[in-house]
Each structure stands twice: as C-alpha cells, then as structure tokens.
Symmetry: C2
C-alpha cells in the first residue's frame, strides 16, 4: 500500500504517532487538525477541555519506541518528571497534617508526568520535517463517504468572500480517526458501520488548578510524587511540571460542584481546608477561588464501542475508540498502544480490511478492560488508599512481588503501568492472584503453611 494516502484526523499525541507510523511505512500522510497549530500556543490547550498533564508509562513509551526512532523517544523522556509513587495527604483525628509516601513499584519503576503540549510539540515538529507528511490545521471534518473514500473538510482559517468557511474535498485510501472522545470520524463512520456504541457520564466533574512554585522558586511539594488528597466521595490531585509548578485537579460528584458553585469565597476555602489539608498553604485562597470560578467544570465520559473500523476505509484509535476516565493514568498510553497494535496488524496482514478487523478483535477486549479498571481505580484513589486493609493487602502483594519474582507474581498496578501485558490478560491474572492470595492466607492461618506453599508454587509453574 506504499504510495497510497493515509489521512489522519486529529493531531494530538495519538494522531501524531499514527502519522509517524504511517510515514515510516512509506505512505503519503495527510494530518488534519481542527484546532490551530498548537506548537506556538504555549502549554495551555486552546479549548482547555483536556488535562494539561498526562502520565506516560511503559505502554506509551513502548509504542513510541516501536517507531524505531530512539532519538525522538529520548527527547520526549527528557521532558518528563518521574513520579515514583503516590503522596497521600491526610489530616489525623488530632488535626495534624500528614504526608504518606506509597511507592508504585518495589523494583523502582515509575510513572512519568508530561505536559500534553510538550509531547505534542515534539511529535509535530518531527512530523513537519518528514517529506511524506503534510499537516493541515484549522480543518474541520464535515463529512465522509467511506464507500467512495472521500472526505470533506471546512477550512476554518480561510473564509470565502461571502464570509463562510470554504470546504475542500479530498480522497484517501485509509482514514485514521484520532480525533478524541467526540470524534467526527466516528460520527461519520457510524453511517456506514453497524456500530454498537455506549457512552456514559460518571457522576464526577473535574476542574483544574495551577499550583505555582514556592517563594524560593522551587516545587511547593515533593516533585517526584503523584499527590493525592483523598476525601472519600471526592479528591484533589497534583502532578509536577518541569517549570516547578503543579497541575492540580479537583474531582467530585456533580452535587459537590453544584454546591461549590453556589458557595461564597470563604465557604469554598473552608471546604478545601477541611478535605484537602495543606492545599491552601500552596495555592493562595483567593487564587484558588478565582481558579475554581474561572476554569471550566467538566464532565467525565466513558466510551465503549465496536467495531473500530469499517471495511478497509476507516479506523479509529485513542479516545475516539475508547475514551476512559483518567484514574489509572492510562488514557494516552492506551491510545498510543492502540496505534502500535493497529500498525502491527497492518504489517502482518496484506489485506487492509483483514488487518483492521484483527485490530478491532484484539483491541476491543483490551480497551473495555482498561476502561473498567480505570473506573474501579477512582474508588481506590479517593478512599481505599487510606484504609488499613488496603495498605495491608498492598504490603503482602508487594512482599510476594519483591521476593518471588520468579513465580510471576506482580501487582495489577505494575502490570498495567510497567508492562505491555494485554489489559484483558491483566484482569485475568489479577483475579487468579486474588483467589490464590485469599486461599493462601486462609491456609497460613489454619496452619497448613507448607502444603499451601507447595500448591502455590505449583500454580505459578502452570501459569
């Protein structure tokens, strides 16, 4: 198919990676992006509906490395900040504020915080240097005929003499839709494919805040942690930036947001002080209130659909195919991985329609799995992290993981964040480990320690 044209809709990190893969396979690659060129817009996305900071973990890095361009990957990794674990901020019954560090991985592996704009800029700069890639900004997909392989875009920067945006018609061999949760590609694909589709808003809104560096110009709180202020029904988190600021997010049910939107400045500050101890030491109360009132209050959507393709004509990746809630930090990673899987199928199978179908088959199960895990992690982050039972389980699991790596024991978190094991397999392995753990502990208590150990060992030899 070299020499043919791949059109990528959406120039975010996922679309940019798709363009990079397509370019390396010798296609003519045309990338169409609704928004203006983001590279000169600073770190603030124009519509501010996407988080500024993202967690980049193994799957995302592996997908980037699979382009074969190590220099590019290195330049991205240099713009990340390691987060070795969570920092849990709580207040004790006596009123003392405490910070408790929970490392992500007994083997020292970590998450990386990266600015969405930075990774995007690096990828787009690289794409712009490639001879077979063309970038078009402010082009809005307004229609597509996936039988005839034609699409229409409105050029939003070039109105005609009548003041209306002008429309162009283009031809393509394959369209890759990487245009996010509210994907226009998916919308037009639905008119051709019999798409099962489900979108669900969870009862959780979010609002971003900036925590500036402290008076001496340094990070206000530990730079190498994902900070969490868990408050049961809601939470506040902070991720570090290279400029020593933090991007913070308030997550909470609609009712909390409704209440705060009606609240006075003092009431808002009091709510923060009650539930998120220490935050107003680092974000000035009046600034905090201003940010809450100025910054958008946004919903969270969970999208599952299938198939991800139609014929040999169009395929969707990233949030367009599987938007998930952000609580596992896997949104972008899953999106980048989808691109890697898509191109591995295109490499393996000579017929494009079969490759796209194989991509749907494999990826659907994994995308549904991580979507479910991400939802479950919301409960863990906002409440479980403080429970003694949670901490005990985590300790036992980490003990086994550390001292018995030969047995293949690993925590669910490490399999999701630090491996490339298929998400659907992660769920299966975690469930079976959970059964073993329950049974093992039961046996230890009832005295059958050695017998338990033997069966335990046998299990792991088999799995």
């Amino acid at each position: 198919m070299a020499g043919k044209t791949i059109v990528v809709v959406g120039a975010g990190p996922v679309g940019a990676l798709a363009a990079l893969f397509a370019s390396s396979r010798g296609y003519q690659v045309h990338v169409y992006e609704l928004r203006p060129d983001l590279r000169n817009a600073g770190t603030q996305p124009l519509n501010f509906t996407k988080s500024i900071n993202l967690a980049l973990s193994e799957r995302g890095i592996h997908a980037l490395r699979s382009t074969g361009n190590n220099e590019l990957v290195q330049s991205i990794l240099e713009r990340t900040i390691p987060m070795h674990g969570r920092m849990i901020h709580t207040r004790s019954a006596t009123g003392t504020i405490s910070q408790q560090s929970q490392l992500y991985d007994v083997h020292g592996r970590y998450q990386r915080s990266i600015d969405r704009g930075e990774i995007n800029d690096i990828l787009l700069d690289h794409l712009a240097s490639l001879p077979n890639v063309k970038l078009f900004f402010q082009h809005k997909l307004t229609g597509a005929d996936f039988q005839k392989k034609k699409a229409w875009f409105e050029m939003m920067d070039k109105p005609s003499s009548s003041g209306r945006a002008r429309e162009i018609e283009i031809d393509f061999d394959l369209m890759i839709g990487a245009d996010g949760a509210h994907s226009a590609t998916r919308f037009h694909m639905m008119k051709f494919a019999r798409l099962d589709y489900q979108q669900e808003y969870i009862d959780c809104m979010w609002c971003e805040f900036k925590m500036a560096p402290n008076a001496s110009g340094d990070f206000a709180i530990h730079p190498n942690r994902l900070h969490i202020w868990p408050a049961g029904a809601f939470m506040f988190i902070a991720l570090p930036n290279l400029d020593k600021s933090f991007v913070c997010t308030l997550f909470g049910p609609v009712s909390l947001f409704n209440r705060l939107e009606q609240s006075s400045q003092d009431e808002i500050v009091a709510t923060f002080d009650k539930y998120f101890p220490g935050v107003t030491d680092h974000i000035r109360p009046d600034d905090l209130v201003q940010q809450f009132r100025r910054n958008p209050h946004l919903p969270l959507i969970n999208i599952k659909c299938s198939p991800y393709h139609f014929s040999d004509s169009v395929v969707i990746v990233g949030d367009a195919a599987h938007a998930m809630v952000p609580f596992y930090g896997q949104g972008m990673n899953a999106g980048l991985e989808s691109v890697r899987v898509l191109f591995s199928k295109l490499d393996q199978l000579s017929r494009v329609d079969e490759a796209l179908a194989a991509y749907t088959d494999e990826r659907k199960a994994d995308a549904h799995a991580i979507a479910d895990l991400a939802l479950a992690n919301y409960t863990e982050m906002r409440s479980s992290v403080t429970s003694p039972v949670y901490k005990l389980r985590k300790q036992i699991e980490e003990f086994l993981y550390h001292y018995a790596p030969g047995l293949g024991w690993a925590t669910q978190y490490s399999r999701v964040s630090f491996s490339n094991t298929r998400y659907s397999e992660v769920i299966i392995k975690s469930q079976s480990q959970k059964q073993i753990l329950t049974w093992l502990l039961g046996s230890v208590i009832t005295g059958g320690t050695y017998a338990a150990f033997k069966i335990f060992r046998k299990f792991f030899r088999q799995h």
Copy 2:
C-alpha cells in the same frame, strides 16, 4: 408560555403530533423537515429506510385522541385495516402448507395496519391549515446552541449563487426533536446535556417486498391478519394495504443476507420455498428475486438514552429518544405516547425545565421496558409461535383472561397493544402473573385446587 415559539424538528407522524399538541396550547409552531414535502410523494418514502406499513394500536390512537380532534382521529382510523390476529404459515412434515389463525385478543380487540404515508399526510394537511403552524421542508438542522436557544438550518432547496446551500439562523423557546433514530437534535443536544447513550445493532437485517393483489384484483391472502412465516432463525411477514396489496418484510441474521446476496436466482427462490411456504405463489419468483436485489437491506438498531431533555430548551421524542426493533409493532405507538406524556407534563407543571425533567423521569423507564419487550418478541414471532408449549400457555392465559376479567388477568400482549398501562408496569404485572400461573398449575397438579384458587383470588384482590 403561549405566544412563545416551539420548533419541532422532523415532520413524521411523531413530529406532526407534537406540532398539533403545541398548536392547540397556543404556541407559535415551526416544523422543520429534512426531506421534501412528503404529501405528494405517494406512499413510497423517499429514502425508503422506514417501513411503509405500521401497526397502530391503542396507545397511538389514545395519543391522537388526546388532541381533542376526533374528526382527525376518525379520518386516520378510516385509512386503517384491522388485523384481528396472526396468521401462521407453516409446512408440515408431509409437505402440506398450513395456515393457522391466532387471534390477538379474546375480547375481539385488534391491531390496525396503516400506511406511514397516509397517517403522515392526514396530520400534515391538518397542520398546514392551522394559523399558528408553519411547515418548512428540505431544512436540515446543522447546529444548535441550547443555552442561547438558537439553531441553524441549511435550506437544501435554495442554493446560494455559489451553489452552496444557504443557512438560516432561528430562535426558539423550546425545540422538540422528533427526527428519528439518527436524530440531529439529539446529536447537538449531546454537546450540552451529559447524555448517557447506548446504541446496539441486533444481528438482524430486513428487506421489504410488495405482494400485489391477486389475478382477480383481491387480497392475495387473508386481509385481516398479520401474516408470519416463522423459520426459527429468521422470518417473513406481511401486512395488508388498503389497495389490497401487502407490504412484506424478510427479517434474518446478517449471515442469511450475506448468503442470499451471493446466491443465484434459483437459490433465492429455493430458500423462500423451503422456509416461507406459499410466498412464491403470491409473489412471482422473478419479481421476488428482483425486489430482494433492488430493495435495500437494512439493519435494526436499538437505542436507549437518558436524559431526553436539556434545561428548558430541548426535548427528544419518538425514535430520537427510543428507537426500538419493530417486533412488537410499538415503535410509532410509543412515539405518539411519548408526545402525549410530554404535553401532559407541560400542562401540569408551570416550569418548562421541571416538566421536561418529569417527562424524562417517567418516560425513560417505559421506553426501556418496551425496547426490551420488542427484542424478546423477535424470538416469539420467528419461532415460539409454532411450539406446542407456547400454544398451551397462550390457551391457558386466554382462558383466564376471558373468564376472569374481574381478576384483572390480562396477557402481556393485550396490555401492550390494547391498553395504556405504562410499559414498565406491563412488565411487572406480566412477571407476577407468570409466577402465579406456574404456581397455580403446580398446585392443580398436586391436588390443592381449591386452596390454590383461594390464594389466587386473594392475590388479584390485592393487586
């Protein structure tokens, strides 16, 4: 709110009824329809993606009557053909073709077959005569701002000098979206409301056929029946028209359609003769094959969503809110009923946003219920109708229904088709009847007849 403007999007039967209700409440009513004026298009809808014949039953009639215009209702009923029951066409093991009549209702109530074009024409003609209603055809909804209550339509019949369709901007107080399963109103509403949405294609395609009158100009088969050729995994049905023809539909899994699409003329005819005995006596084999190849093969979609409204600005009705599979003949009836419920809430509550919320609350449960019943009826129609157990259950149920009406016993079918009981209550009542029936029969068998009867009677006094 009289004097304010209600915009109805979609001029099908459901949209037309909404306009009629709105008009009678004194609103200014503007109806926008994507297609050209349907009234002069004959019985064939232009895009042929909707069934030509529809079943009109109690709920639909009740909703029409609720406009208070009995003359209008009468003129619609005069254009219907009663279907008193099903006619099941089968072939016995010895090869004999048999027709078995199953009446719908022991009290003689019946379904009515009506041409979609006819009911639409009557409603539109009436609307066109009302001083506070304006109809706009070939107007395509291209955008809406449900905060500012503005919408944009493309006038498809009036291209500008540059050859492009012209766009108009309109204001409204309330928009009612009655624009079908692929509703543009719903699509734009989704940008404002946090809409949980699910669409699912079932593994069933459909294709329509026309069965002309016989050589003597009369109905080829019994005019007052809904004819079914059940074939296990698929089925063929026929509904009567006033011109003595029948509109027939083949329903079957994708695999059947794929196979028939690859088949020769002889193979198609052989398949029909094998599974739908007698059909080729009434539709000439070459005509049957031509119709199968010429007429579109269309999917079936099931749509559930919530909420049905945003603020006091927009609300969706009919297929736009709850597209269902056609196997209970309730699609249009549920749509018309939704309009009735919507206006009853608008009449009861002075605040429009509260009325719309009350409509969502009530209607969501009922729409989900009938969607599930319609899916379940697919199994009943294509296979259960021929099973001895099904027939026995039906007989017992009908016996109780006939001889014990005072007990409140009624079949699920009659509650759905011949009453205005909320669909969600129909499910609850049917389930509790099923339990009673099972238990009653068990008791009869074990000899406790009188005791059973007493408890049985007691149950119905309570319910």
